[in-house]
C-alpha cells in the first residue's frame, strides 16, 4: 500500500473531529470518545455542551430526551435508573429524579451521560405541584460545596415556602422561610442566589442566614408595573441574566436583559419571543447550560406537550 509520510489522526484538524463526533449523534458515544485522548476530550466536551434536556416528567420506560441545539437533532437515552421515576429538571447536565415508591421519597441527581447518581436527603416534605419542581445547583454536583436548590413554584400564593436546599451528603433538606416573599423563580448567577417575584423585584438571597440580603433592583418595565404582565422566570444566557415576562392577555413572552451588574437597572425589551415556537438557541450555549429550561406552556402545566408545542427558553 502506498504509504504517506504522516499519521492521519495526530494532525487531524479539530473541525474534522467535530464533524465526525456530531455524526455520532448519541451523547454516550461522544462521551466515550472523550476518553480516547486529551484533545478528543476537549472536542467531546464542547459537543456535549450543545445538548439540553427536554422534560419527560414521569418516565415509565426510562427515557431521557436530549436536544442538540447545533444539529437540532433529538436523541433519546434509555436508562434503567430512569425507570418509573419523575424526571423534573436539570442543572449542569444533572437531572433531578424523584421515586415515590416508598415513603420517604427517594430523591437523586442523575447524570444520564455518565450515569452517576448522587443521593440527596430523603424528604419528609410533601412537594406540591410536582410537575413544577425545578432543581438548580450552584456548581456541578460533583463539587462537595455544591448547593442544591429545589424550587417549588406556587403561583399567586404569597407567604408560602417554595425553596428547599441541601448539599449532597446532608441528612435533610432545609427550607428558606421568609415572610411576604412570593418568589416566582430563583437562579444562581455568578455564584449568588437571586430570586424574582411576579412584579419583577429581584432579590439577592443569603442562603445560610435564610434571609434576603437586600433588594437588588425593582423593575422599571412598564408592562410589569401596569400588572398586565408578570414575570415568568430568570434565565442565564452567556453570562447575562435574562428575565422572561409573560402577558396575561396575549400569550406572548418578552425577554429582558438584566444588566444590573454595571447599571443596576433593567434594559427593557432586548428580545421578544413568541410562545409555542422554538427560539434560536445562542451559538455558544455552554455557559447557560444549567439554566436552559424547557417548560410546558402555561395552559397545560400538568400535561406536557410534545417538544414542538413547548417553548424553549434559552
Amino acid at each position: 500500500m502506498a504509504k504517506l509520510g504522516w499519521s492521519p489522526w495526530s494532525d487531524l484538524p479539530s473541525e474534522l473531529l467535530h464533524v465526525i463526533f456530531h455524526k455520532l449523534e448519541n451523547p454516550s458515544d461522544i462521551y466515550q470518545c472523550g476518553i480516547v485522548c486529551d484533545s478528543w476530550k476537549s472536542v467531546a466536551t464542547a459537543i456535549l455542551s450543545y445538548f439540553i434536556f427536554l422534560p419527560v416528567n414521569y418516565s415509565r420506560v426510562g427515557d431521557c430526551v436530549l436536544f442538540n441545539t447545533q444539529t437540532k437533532g433529538i436523541h433519546t437515552i434509555t436508562l434503567p435508573e430512569l425507570n418509573r421515576v419523575w424526571v423534573l429538571s436539570s442543572s449542569f447536565g444533572w437531572l433531578l429524579t424523584i421515586r415515590f415508591n416508598n415513603w420517604p421519597d427517594k430523591i437523586c441527581l442523575l447524570n444520564p451521560i455518565t450515569r452517576e447518581q448522587i443521593k440527596l436527603p430523603f424528604t419528609r416534605i410533601v412537594f406540591e405541584r410536582i410537575h413544577d419542581l425545578r432543581v438548580i445547583t450552584s456548581t456541578s454536583p460533583l463539587d462537595p460545596e455544591c448547593l442544591v436548590i429545589v424550587e417549588s413554584r406556587k403561583f399567586y400564593s404569597s407567604k408560602l415556602i417554595s425553596v428547599f436546599y441541601c448539599r449532597p451528603g446532608d441528612s435533610d433538606w432545609k427550607v428558606i422561610e421568609i415572610d411576604n416573599w412570593n418568589s416566582i423563580d430563583v437562579i444562581f448567577h455568578k455564584g449568588e442566589l437571586y430570586s424574582v417575584d411576579v412584579y419583577g423585584k429581584l432579590y439577592l438571597i443569603d442562603v445560610f442566614r435564610r434571609c434576603f440580603n437586600h433588594i437588588v433592583v425593582e423593575s422599571s418595565i412598564p408592562q410589569l408595573e401596569s400588572r398586565t404582565w408578570i414575570v415568568n422566570s430568570l434565565v442565564e444566557v452567556e453570562g447575562s441574566l435574562l428575565l422572561v415576562a409573560i402577558s396575561f392577555y396575549s400569550d406572548t413572552h418578552e425577554v429582558y436583559k438584566l444588566d444590573w451588574i454595571e447599571k443596576r437597572n433593567l434594559e427593557p425589551n432586548t428580545k421578544s419571543i413568541q410562545p409555542r415556537t422554538k427560539i434560536e438557541p445562542p451559538p455558544n450555549p455552554p455557559n447557560s447550560r444549567h439554566r436552559i429550561q424547557y417548560r410546558p406552556t402555561k395552559s397545560s402545566p400538568s400535561n406536557p406537550a410534545p417538544p414542538n408545542q413547548e417553548e424553549v427558553l434559552v
Partner: protein, 172 residues
C-alpha cells in the same frame, strides 16, 4: 469555462492531477471541478488549463481512482432526471466502502478535506462515525491510530467517571 473558438472538438477537456506520490491522473474537467481545491487552482488562470499539472499534495494515488469514481457517479446522480432511486445511491455508497480498511477510510477523509469537497467529506465522516459507534475506547484508539496521552491515573479517573460506557459495547 474557456470559450475559445479553437476546436477542441466535442471531446471533453482533461486536466492532469498529480497525486502525492507523483502518479498522474487524467481527469475530465467537470469531474476535476468537483474538487474545490482544483477549481481554485484555476481561478483567474483559465488559460493555463491545458498543460498545467495540478499537484495534490495530500492525496495518495492509491485513493485517486476511488475518489474520482465517487465524483463521477455522484455528479451523474445529481444531474439525472428523475433523480435516481435512493436504493441505487445507497448501493453505490455501500459498494464504495466495501473492502475499505479503517486506515484507508481515514486517509480518504484527509484527502476529501484537502480536496475540499463537501459531499465526499460528509459521506466519509458519516462512515467513520458509523464505524466507531458503540465501540470501546481501545478500539477507537486503534481505529484512529491515536496514542493515549492520559497518564494512568488520569485515565483511571476518567474511566471511573465513566463506568457505564463499558457495558453493552459491540464486539470489536
Amino acid at each position: 469555462m474557456a470559450s475559445s473558438s479553437s476546436s477542441s472538438s466535442t471531446q471533453v477537456k482533461k486536466i492532469t492531477l498529480k497525486a502525492a506520490d507523483g502518479k498522474h491522473f487524467e481527469v475530465e474537467e467537470p469531474v476535476a471541478m468537483e474538487m474545490e481545491t482544483v477549481k481554485s487552482f484555476f481561478v483567474g488562470n483559465e488559460d493555463a488549463m491545458k498543460d498545467m499539472v495540478v499537484p495534490l499534495l495530500n492525496v495518495s494515488s492509491e485513493h485517486m481512482p476511488a475518489i474520482l469514481d465517487f465524483y463521477r457517479n455522484h455528479s451523474e446522480f445529481r444531474k439525472r432526471t428523475p433523480p435516481p432511486p435512493a436504493e441505487e445511491v445507497k448501493a453505490f455508497n455501500e459498494a464504495f466502502l466495501e473492502n475499505k480498511s479503517d486506515e484507508q477510510l481515514m486517509e480518504m477523509i484527509m484527502a476529501a478535506n484537502f480536496l475540499n469537497t463537501k459531499e465526499l467529506l460528509n459521506f466519509l465522516t458519516e462512515a467513520a462515525a458509523n464505524r466507531i459507534k458503540n465501540k470501546s475506547v481501545e478500539y477507537v484508539r486503534a481505529f484512529f491510530g491515536i496514542e493515549n496521552d492520559f497518564t494512568p491515573e488520569e485515565e483511571a479517573r476518567i474511566r471511573a467517571e465513566n463506568e457505564w460506557a463499558f457495558d453493552g459495547l459491540d464486539e470489536d
